[in-house]
């Protein structure tokens, strides 16, 4: 008797296209899945749907103009992108940033980390079917975005961190605003944990799903919460401190289970650690003090000076028309973004525009291990695995 199986012949697998328009791929990722029943036999990620050529565009902008492009890479972590780019340029120039500006940077980047983790938690929860957590996370994220709007004038594309410091003096009333957020937030994190951490559905969807061995994680260059959930306390903020992180007291949360649940626990713990850092940074930021370093010809002079002193005005014109030229050489700086190691490599040839500007995107590198993680798993778990790697397609494709 002829059945469907014999008519099909030897081939027992089917190919399913997940994405590029699939809500749980968090953007426009396409994964071609070869399925045997419900089991994934082979997975081939296909990227580039959001490729905007930012690295090439940076080469035709002056060093300070390119900051605005970095905002648009990893759109959940624009301040972190600003920071890594500015740190790399400052390294090329040999600039020292005033302590006050460094603390402001730390505070902003940690707030950004919280907001990024909130978006991750919310979207991942909604992928797993928990609607309320999504709404709650975005409610709290709104508070952070309001703080950014108060500081920089934009909620997302802030361009707040600049070469040599930050763009603007902290606004009036910022302390109350951040303080209000800090007092509110721990209770809200408790709420999320009450909803999820012990929830039976949550546990059965995440536990023992998407495991990766620590050796594999290192070999695949994975970083960030994914690596820390595999049991290695590697965090650039501690190992290679930048922007005065060595002065802050915080822990690196790690887990050893290395599954989706472990990554969730690490991220929630990181939100709490970041709150601690914001608190400390707030205490360290003095009310008076410089927000930019004094570097004539590189950092724009203060507006008052620009209007009264001829020399400052000339520098002001020079910076905004032709920019500045770092000495030839190259620099690589890596920071800890919410997703992992975010690196920036800049090569200079002594002209006012970068010769090469490369971003080591954490999502891009982490996503590479996706086939390794999901092969042999069930189709429904693919969503959980993509979610907990925490990719941002703007970061993957750049």
């Amino acid at each position: 008797m002829t059945t469907v199986e014999t008519a099909l012949g030897a081939s027992k697998t089917m190919v399913l296209n997940m994405g590029p328009q699939h809500p749980s791929t968090h953007g426009v990722l396409r994964v071609a899945l070869e399925l045997d029943g419900e089991t994934v036999v082979k997975a081939v990620p296909d990227l580039g749907y959001l490729h905007t050529g930012i690295e090439k565009s940076c080469e035709s902008k002056t060093y300070s103009q390119a900051i605005t492009l970095t905002d648009r890479m990893d759109y959940l972590n624009p301040l972190g992108n600003n920071l890594v780019y500015c740190l790399a340029v400052e390294k090329l120039l040999g600039l020292e940033v005033p302590k006050r500006a460094q603390y402001i940077r730390v505070m902003m980047v940690e707030l950004q980390r919280i907001s990024s983790h909130l978006v991750w938690l919310g979207t991942h929860a909604i992928d797993m079917g928990a609607m309320s957590v999504f709404l709650y996370c975005f409610r709290e994220r709104e508070e952070i975005l309001k703080i950014f709007e108060r500081f920089a004038g934009q909620r997302m594309m802030t361009s707040y961190i600049r070469i040599g410091g930050v763009a603007l003096e902290p606004p009036a009333g910022w302390r109350e605003m951040v303080r209000r957020f800090l007092t509110m937030m721990p209770n809200r994190v408790d709420d999320y944990e009450t909803l999820l951490t012990e929830n039976r559905i949550w546990l059965s969807r995440l536990q023992n799903v998407g495991k990766i061995k620590l050796e594999d994680a290192i070999a695949y260059s994975m970083s960030g919460p994914t690596l820390r959930a595999a049991g290695l306390a590697h965090d650039n903020r501690k190992v290679f401190p930048y922007s005065s992180y060595e002065e802050f007291d915080f822990n690196i949360p790690t887990r050893t289970d290395s599954d989706c649940y472990g990554r969730y626990m690490v991220r929630v713990a990181e939100i709490r650690e970041s709150l601690k850092i914001v608190e400390q940074a707030m205490a360290k930021i003095t009310d008076q003090g410089p927000i930019r370093t004094e570097a004539p010809g590189i950092v724009p002079p203060e507006r008052e000076k620009m209007k009264t002193e001829m020399e400052a005005l000339i520098y002001h014109f020079k910076i905004f028309t032709e920019g500045f030229s770092p000495p030839p050489g190259d620099a690589y700086v890596a920071i800890e973004s919410p997703r992992g190691e975010l690196g920036c490599y800049i090569a200079s040839d002594g002209s006012p525009k970068p010769l090469r500007c490369h971003f080591r995107a954490p999502s891009f590198v982490n996503l590479q291990a996706l086939p390794r993680i999901i092969e042999g798993q069930l189709l429904a778990d693919v969503v959980a695995c993509i979610g907990t790697i925490d990719i941002v397609l703007g970061d993957v494709d750049r």
């Binding site: 605005t68 492009l69 309001k146 920089a152 004038g153 012990e198 929830n199």
Partner: protein, 161 residues
């Protein structure tokens, strides 16, 4: 997670469900944070970067002196300026020159604020306008008259033109 007994499993499930629902139940009595935008105005922070405003000085003259610095600083190349000389008969700005054409292409503008930082005379700032969306992309090129501050009662010097 492997549970010791099915009874315990059922009990745990109900306990965590109850805890979870208590959170959502409490949230019902919280004040809503949603802003009903089209009906109510949006609350912006003072530094919000919206549609640009070109300013006038205390005499009603345009502050812009046509120095092209904003156009040079713009990372998106969205500012187009043509400068012209002021004459005594036709005085537009306090400086030597003024911008006879000042266009911002909002289909390119990224609202980064570099033009505001660059302007040496504080002629351009960001306003709080944001409702830009049109049906025709060409209408996104804003001319000077659309962005120029209007409300100042013009003294003689400016009114004469």
């Amino acid at each position: 997670m492997v549970m010791a007994s099915p009874i315990r499993e059922v009990f745990e499930t109900f306990r965590t469900m109850f805890n979870g629902f208590s959170v959502t139940f409490r949230t019902m009595f919280r004040k809503t944070v949603t802003e009903s935008y089209p009906e109510q105005p949006v609350n912006f922070q003072p530094r919000y970067r919206g549609i640009h405003v070109l300013h006038r000085d205390e005499n009603g003259l345009e502050k812009c002196v046509g120095c092209f610095l904003c156009a040079a600083a713009c990372p998106a190349n969205c500012i187009y300026i043509e400068a012209a000389e002021n004459t005594d008969a036709n005085r537009i700005s306090a400086g030597e020159r003024y911008a006879s054409v000042y266009n911002i292409d909002y289909s390119r503008c990224i609202f980064c604020g570099y033009c505001v930082e660059a302007c040496p005379t504080d002629a351009i700032t960001h306003g709080h306008g944001f409702e830009l969306a049109p049906y025709d992309i060409n209408s996104l090129v804003y001319r000077k008259e659309q962005m120029l501050e209007k409300d100042i009662a013009l003294p003689k010097a400016a009114a004469a033109r």
